[in-house]
């Protein structure tokens, strides 16, 4: 755990030492604020004190931002060879993967915390469903975990950052849209399966304010599976033929 934290700390520092963290935070706050307050089906347009416009835009912004964060995580280390230096220190592959995961998650959590003023302002306008806001944020975090782990996996199988970025978007689209569409086109067992795989289905039920262990289990298992795959790809160098 301590080693994981040391790795996460370094990644976070490199986010804030470069422009990555600031650009992410500013663009994320700007975009979500714009659509929450000023444009489209914003708070004033629908005439309700609700954060649902914020959550639906944040959902898509994170979908694009997280791959941008994770794409360099392992791909760049592999390209520059620093992965060799890192893995010959007293760390395990799993600690490296989870450390990087933790760093991304913390940055996303910071971005979400910075949107809390939106919540307080909306609260000022009228009665807010506090439970829904809470579960909305919770759903965001769960969804981010899933995307980060997918992004790390994509980053682990290539040493080209662009490929990693596109690949994690590609995989993400399946979970976000395609499984959902497939679920609507199939009935019976297959339909149920695709429905279960669809991230938007689980996200919707969490953000509606219903926290079911089944949904949480879904997010956590995909996260774990993504991290596990990323670790396996890293460990591939050890395979004895």
């Amino acid at each position: 755990m301590k080693t994981t934290w040391i790795i996460a700390k370094r990644e976070l520092k490199s986010f804030f030492d470069s422009l990555i963290a600031y650009i992410l935070l500013i663009v994320f706050l700007g975009l979500s604020g714009f659509f929450t307050w000023l444009f489209g089906s914003d708070v004033f347009f629908i005439g309700q004190a609700t954060l649902s416009p914020f959550f639906s835009i944040a959902y898509w912004t994170l979908f694009f931002f997280i791959p941008a964060l994770t794409m360099k995580m392992l791909a760049e280390e592999k390209r520059s060879g620093t992965i060799e230096l890192l893995l010959t220190k007293s760390v395990t592959d799993w600690q490296v993967v989870t450390g990087k995961f933790l760093a991304c998650l913390i940055l996303i959590a910071i971005a979400l915390v910075l949107t809390l003023p939106y919540y307080f302002t909306v609260w000022g306008i009228g009665p807010v469903d506090h439970g829904a806001v809470l579960t909305g944020y919770f759903g965001m975090l769960l969804m981010s975990m899933t995307f980060i782990s997918i992004g790390l996996f994509a980053s682990s199988i290539t040493n080209n950052q662009i490929v990693a970025f596109l690949l994690s978007l590609f995989v993400g689209v399946f979970f976000l849209i395609i499984f959902d569409i497939l679920a609507n086109n199939f009935t019976g067992y297959l339909g149920g399966l695709f429905n279960y795989l669809s991230l938007s289905y689980h996200y919707d039920s969490v953000s509606r304010g219903v926290i079911d262990t089944r949904n949480i289990f879904y997010f956590l298992s995909i996260t774990f599976f993504g991290l596990f795959l990323a670790e396996s790809v890293l460990s591939k160098r050890n395979i004895v033929e």
């Binding site: 370094r10 060879g81 230096l85 893995l87 760390v91 395979i239």
Partner: protein, 310 residues
């Protein structure tokens, strides 16, 4: 802190990068790993440092197997990989801090260790810079500093002097020799004089196999262009008499008994002279049995070339 490599084999697909090699490095030795490009030096080092698992065989570092006790081994080893990969966006001090924490240096000792590394590696002037801004020589020093930060018992350096200017090369060599007084060092290179300058022992590897293993002492003598003979003599009465007799041959410069092998000597002839006839005549005269007399190649470069080209 010994390193024992036992029947090590590493395959990449069907190609054998390292083919069934075995050797042993004792505590305090500086071993030069020599060989042409692609001979398997780097692969061997990557296996010793637990970056890759061997296909067959085992490496034991201080009794721990690389197949089981990887974390223990990683703490014992300081490693400078080929091409010296570093995080170019990090400041030197932050980077050393990061490595020290990873290698489990005690929190209160970290500033001390960093200060010492900055001093030992001569980084004082550049310590606040970002690694990417440093010149190649200074990057190399950062690479050495990160390898040494946790005061490892074993130092493994993969081509530590590539790309440096002659002054820097001399400095880095001096540094390695200094460090090597207390630690076990394995370094690879394909620069012959470098190995001679630094190492106690030379291992030449070619096509994944060890083709020579010996002290540079022996090799340097050979590189002076003298005739060197390996002679084995049996049925003598006293060893002292034998050595004195060999030494008194007028063409013989020096007699060196080979350690661990009975009755075998390395005879260095004086420059430009040959001793083989005289040795033979001496044996006949004294009624000793000459069981072996092998001329040994005369130049380190020649030996290297002969061993590494097929």
């Amino acid at each position: 802190m010994s390193i024992v490599v036992e029947n090590l084999t590493k395959k990449y697909g069907t190609q054998k990068a390292v083919n069934n090699i075995s050797f042993k490095v004792e505590t305090g030795e500086i071993v030069g790993f020599l060989g042409p490009n692609g001979a398997g030096k780097t692969t061997t080092m990557k296996i010793i440092t637990c970056f890759m698992a061997p296909s067959e065989g085992d490496v034991k570092v201080s009794g721990h197997s690389v197949l089981e006790k990887q974390n223990e081994i990683k703490r014992l080893i300081g490693y400078l990989p080929e091409n010296n990969p570093l995080y170019y966006d990090m400041p030197v001090l932050d980077y050393l801090q990061f490595v020290a924490e990873l290698q489990g240096v005690r929190r209160d000792k970290i500033p001390l260790r960093i200060a010492e590394m900055v001093k030992v590696c001569g980084l004082n002037k550049e310590k606040h810079k970002i690694i990417g801004e440093l010149s190649k020589g200074y990057k190399q020093r950062v690479g050495l500093a990160q390898a040494l930060i946790h005061d490892p018992e074993i130092l493994i350096l993969d081509e530590p002097t590539t790309g440096l200017d002659p002054n820097q090369i001399v400095e880095i060599r001096k540094l390695i020799r200094e460090i090597g007084k207390e630690k076990t060092v394995i370094l690879s290179t394909h620069i012959l004089p470098e190995v001679e300058a630094i190492s106690d022992r030379i291992l030449i590897i070619n096509n994944g196999e060890i083709v020579a293993d010996g002290s540079p002492e022996m090799l340097r003598k050979q590189s002076h262009g003298q005739e060197v003979l390996q002679v084995q003599i049996a049925d003598y009465s006293s060893k002292d008499e034998l050595i004195t007799a060999l030494q008194s041959i007028e063409t013989v410069g020096m007699v060196d008994p080979i350690e661990g092998v009975d009755d075998t000597f390395i005879l260095n002839s004086k420059d430009g002279l040959s001793s083989s006839r005289n040795v033979f005549n001496l044996c006949v005269e004294k009624k000793w049995v000459l069981t072996q007399m092998t001329p040994i190649e005369t130049k380190l470069e020649d030996i290297f070339r002969e061993l590494t080209t097929n």
